[in-house]
């Protein structure tokens, strides 16, 4: 009987103390983390859709044609009042966990840029997807993600080993990123066709 009381108190007390400490640290760091994430998002949006545009979050969520790919928040890209494009947050299943990306889409469906927000691929293999020093084309210094810029989501197949050079040793990651970009491009094109013909 004695050990039961001892265990309950020790483990319970540890839980309470740890719970308190964790929340305290979380409360101190939450505002800072949120401002950092906001800054990163704005940088991401600007990076994915170059030019001095304003980004406005859509309140409706768009549907993706492929069931394994989920579409997150989308941002309308405005330049001087008229809509010039859409930035789509898309997440497609990577080797262990979903890969979350920002994909910029112009009105005619061409991809203006891709940025990976979060992924948990193996370092040195899949994680090379957003590695700035890993070039698929060494002399032109094109990284894995730069390949997508300028391609058209409707006309080009966007499939590794066809028009996209895959990451060495990480076929699953390459397929996941390419499929995510393709679906995001189609969703963006269909939305823009309806809003700004």
């Amino acid at each position: 009987m004695k050990s039961l009381v001892k265990f309950t108190i020790t483990l319970g007390a540890l839980g309470v103390i740890v719970g308190l400490l964790l929340v305290m640290v979380y409360r101190i760091t939450l505002p800072v983390i949120n401002s950092q994430d906001l800054k990163a998002l704005n940088e991401g949006l600007a990076g994915v859709f170059p030019g001095d545009n304003t980004f406005e979050k859509l309140n409706e969520t768009l549907k993706s044609s492929d069931q394994t790919i989920t579409i997150g928040d989308c941002y309308e890209v405005k330049n001087g009042g008229n809509i010039v494009g859409l930035v789509v947050t898309v997440s497609s299943p990577g080797s262990q966990a979903p890969i979350k990306m920002l994909v910029g889409v112009k009105k005619d469906g061409t991809i203006s840029g891709v940025k990976i927000l979060s992924m948990s691929e193996t370092p040195g293999l899949g994680a090379n997807a957003d590695n700035p020093t890993y070039f698929v084309n060494r002399d032109k210094k094109i990284t894995f993600l730069d390949q997508f810029t300028g391609k058209n989501a409707l006309k080009d197949p966007l499939v590794p080993k066809q028009d996209i050079i895959a990451l060495t040793g990480a076929t699953i990651t390459s397929n996941a990123v390419s499929k995510g970009v393709k679906i995001a491009g189609e969703v963006g094109y269909n939305y823009l066709k309806g809003v700004a013909p």
């Binding site: 020790t10 540890l14 740890v18 950092q36 370092p123 040195g124 293999l125 040793g169």
Partner: protein
């Protein structure tokens, strides 16, 4: 002072976590395909192991023996989460670099292995040195494997092109199975070295 050096030396070769005790292999194989990620892994590994051993060692008297496992894991997990939150808020540059490895470390067996085997039965200062010894022991094995795998697999060393372009890299070396083969060779080497040293003594 000599005692502390012995503890550090234990971590490096006679009781090397990866090669002899054979724990913490999960991250060694996954991460040892480039020298850069190996060094970053060792850095973030030390960042978690050394404080964890110190914390466990300070509160070791309060932990009843029968439930030491749940207690250890909660303390270490809480400490890791707090350091992740703090580094995500205030040291963002470091965080972006080591964020992939943090999850690998939380599940790493060495931390619990050392908490259970060493920190729980030794005073704080010795635990600190054991943490340092283990980190160095873990680090040199990881980097040794990473050097060989990156050299043969990509022809580069820490990203710098070392072997001439004509060298056709053996892709297998960066793929994870090569991690197993490399550790096999290293374990064989260290055990023969220790066996020879043992016979001489």
């Amino acid at each position: 002072m000599k005692k502390y050096l012995k503890i550090i030396w234990d971590g490096i070769s006679p009781a090397n976590p990866v090669l002899i005790i054979a724990i913490g292999l999960c991250s060694v194989i996954a991460v040892s395909n480039s020298v850069k990620s190996a060094l970053l892994m060792t850095f973030s590994f030390g960042l978690v192991l050394i404080p964890s051993e110190i914390i466990i060692s300070t509160i070791r008297k309060l932990i009843p023996d029968e439930i030491r496992v749940p207690m250890f894991v909660v303390v270490i997990a809480a400490f890791t989460t707090m350091s992740v939150l703090l580094s995500r808020a205030y040291f963002t540059t470091i965080y972006d670099v080591i964020k992939l490895y943090i999850l690998l470390i939380v599940v790493n067996c060495i931390i619990i292995g050392r908490a259970e085997a060493f920190a729980y039965v030794h005073p704080v200062v010795e635990s600190l040195f054991d943490g340092i010894g283990m980190t160095i022991g873990y680090g040199w094995v990881l980097t040794a494997i990473a050097v060989v795998r990156e050299l043969l697999g990509k022809g580069t060393l820490a990203g710098i092109q070392v072997l001439p372009q004509s060298f056709q890299p053996a892709l297998i070396m960066i793929l994870p199975p090569a991690g197993f083969l490399m550790i096999g060779i290293l374990v064989g080497a260290l055990e023969t070295y220790l066996r020879k040293k043992g016979d001489k003594k």
